[in-house]
């Protein structure tokens, strides 16, 4: 096990971890506003990657145009899901069971639609940095996409923390998370906050999907993996805690990368899922203070 190889796997781990952290942040956003675990989040990430790839390869659009359009479409999907499907159940004060089933139905619908549209293809994108998949940096061969992923994640995390701490809407959303009834009493439109949170989560998810596609190809089957790994990151970091989700994502990324490279690439999903069950059994509250109970 030479040091060069370990560094390479570490860079991969950090890259994957950033993506999982983004997925976890998206989940946290929705949980903060509504206490619903958004089962469709994996599909947001997956569609972000698949649609951008499809537009880039098959419609021959420039990468940035494809990315922007994809993000818009995914945000519309997220907001549409909340308005048309979640809102009626919410008004009816349905049990969590109904939300889970509705979200799973939407998720399957999206998965299947993508499967039919892409004809079951697995898609990938070229790296944003250079034409080659990996470049050599100080003797270490790392994926060219890695700096973009890390930079993108840091940018989003910073942007979100500024959003929540400095802007009025962000503070309103935090208020919703802390105490929903008090927020209503103050006059915050909780419905609108819910919609915004879904839209924001969709945007973060789509960006995560676009960032990871050059690194690992995505297909219609990737959504469940993103959901579970993002959920893992959120659980480790404490539900609703954004900085915690970052740490959680890194942990999962390390587990994924090192497990895949050094133990078995075929069974690496078992490690992550098993770790999820282990965490839920031992410390479901996470290691950081969670915003939502």
């Amino acid at each position: 096990m030479d040091i060069i190889q370990i560094i390479q796997v570490l860079v991969l781990a950090v890259s994957l971890g950033c993506i999982y952290a983004l997925a976890g942040i998206g989940l946290s956003l929705v949980v903060n506003a509504t206490r619903i675990v958004n089962f469709v989040h994996g599909e947001f990430v997956m569609i972000g990657g698949v649609m951008t790839s499809a537009l880039y390869w098959w419609a021959k659009w420039p990468l940035w145009v494809a990315a922007l359009l994809t993000i818009s479409v995914v945000v519309i999907l997220g907001v549409g899901t909340e308005r048309l499907l979640i809102r009626p159940l919410w008004k009816r004060q349905a049990a969590p069971l109904s939300f889970v089933m509705m979200l799973m139905a939407v998720g399957t619908f999206l998965d299947n639609t993508v499967m039919l549209c892409t004809d079951r293809a697995t898609l990938s994108l070229p790296s944003f940095f250079s034409k080659s998949v990996s470049s050599v940096f100080m003797g270490v061969s790392i994926a060219s996409q890695a700096p973009w992923i890390i930079a993108g994640t840091i940018a989003i995390a910073l942007g979100l923390s500024i959003f929540f701490d400095r802007t009025l809407i962000g503070k309103c959303m935090k208020a919703c998370a802390v105490n929903r009834d008090a927020a209503i009493l103050i006059g915050i439109s909780v419905d609108r906050m819910t919609t915004i949170s879904f839209g924001l989560a969709a945007m973060v998810g789509a960006i995560a999907g676009i960032l990871i596609t050059p690194l690992t190809a995505v297909s219609f089957t990737s959504s469940a993996g993103f959901l579970i790994k993002g959920f893992c990151a959120t659980v480790i970091g404490g539900m609703g805690n954004i900085k915690g989700a970052l740490v959680g994502g890194l942990v999962i990324g390390i587990l994924d990368a090192f497990g895949g490279c050094y133990v078995s690439s075929v069974y690496k999903d078992i490690f992550v899922n098993g770790f999820l069950i282990l965490i839920l059994v031992t410390k479901p509250a996470g290691f950081f203070r969670s915003v939502v109970g």
Binding site: A95, P96, L97, S98, M101, T113, A224, V266, L280
Partner: protein, 319 residues
């Protein structure tokens, strides 16, 4: 044993038997598959609909039953019935080990944990080639047999499967009327209130999930011996959506609803002029529509209608 209840099952079974005997191979195999799906869906109905535990691992338990039966009967020449029993034991054990540490979790978290477990089983099915045959699966599984009587024809299989299925519905309805059933309904309604009244939340929650797993394993074993092949593709998330759609469309918590839903969702893909790939899409759309507009399912809607038109004597007579 109330005579009224028993009559309903006899009638349903007789109808299924008559249809099987007179309507040809297509109906027989349709009814067989509907019956198998009904058994698995019944388990979900009990755990999710009646006891309120969001368990999403049913495809994994169906796979466990199917693969256990397949491996034991093809590689070790075990008698099919013994294979079924071993599958039940394995599924029961695994579901207990899965549920017991996780029962303290609330709905969403429990559901995602079971989903994680289902993914683990799916990965093993796809990749553990020496054990499960990988993506090729296992073939040449022998038919079920009890003594000299072999269930080789579609007719015999459909009669057997429906006997088991109707009997299990009967069992579930009896369970619903017992102390266990009342405990489940209490837990589903309000856990804190139930525990205040002395209901052992943990034990009943685990029990519900274990029973669901057992039903699933039974369905899987039956499927293995009737289709005579198992492959990992058939035990994925699409199956989960099918089960969820069945219990919602049929009626959450009403055990006959699972059977009705299973029949609908087995026959519907066959008569719709769309290719098989569209199936999960259609199931998902039906699930969503039912959740929004008819949350009590078909059974709930029919019984509400009967009650409204004061035709309750039909309900009393049937169940």
């Amino acid at each position: 044993m109330q005579l009224g209840k028993f009559r309903a099952f006899l009638i349903v079974y007789v109808i299924a038997a008559i249809v099987s005997a007179n309507m040809g191979i297509w109906w027989q195999s349709m009814l067989t598959f509907a019956g198998i799906t009904a058994i698995a869906s019944l388990g979900m109905d009990l755990a999710i609909g009646y006891a309120g535990q969001i368990t999403l691992a049913q495809p994994a338990f169906v796979a466990i039953g199917a693969y256990s039966s397949a491996i034991l009967t093809t590689r070790y020449d075990v008698h099919p019935l013994l294979g079924v029993v071993v599958g039940l034991v394995i599924a029961g054990l695994l579901s207990y080990l899965l549920a017991f540490p996780l029962v303290k979790l609330r709905g969403f978290y429990f559901g995602l944990a079971t989903l994680g477990f289902a993914e683990i089983v799916s990965v093993i099915n796809h990749n553990a080639i020496p054990l499960t045959g990988g993506t090729q699966g296992i073939t040449m599984i022998p038919y079920l047999s009890i003594g000299p009587f072999v269930f080789d024809s579609a007719l015999k299989q459909s009669l057997l499967v429906w006997l088991v299925s109707v009997f299990l519905v009967f069992l579930c309805l009896r369970l619903g009327n017992s102390r266990v059933g009342r405990a489940y309904r209490a837990i589903r309604g309000d856990e804190i209130a139930a525990s205040v009244r002395g209901v052992d939340i943990r034990a009943y929650r685990v029990q519900a999930v274990v029973i669901c797993g057992l039903f699933g394993s039974l369905a899987g074993s039956l499927q293995a011996h009737i289709v005579t092949t198992v492959c990992p593709e058939s035990f994925g998330l699409a199956l989960l959506i099918k089960y969820l759609a069945i219990i919602i469309v049929g009626g959450l918590g009403t055990f006959w609803g699972a059977t009705i839903g299973a029949v609908i969702f087995t026959i519907l893909p066959e008569i719709l002029p769309v290719p098989l790939d569209f199936n999960p899409l259609i199931f998902a759309v039906m699930l969503g529509i039912m959740l929004l507009y008819m949350p009590n399912g078909i059974y709930g809607a029919v019984s509400t209608m009967l009650r409204r038109f004061r035709l309750t004597y039909i309900i009393k007579w049937k169940s």
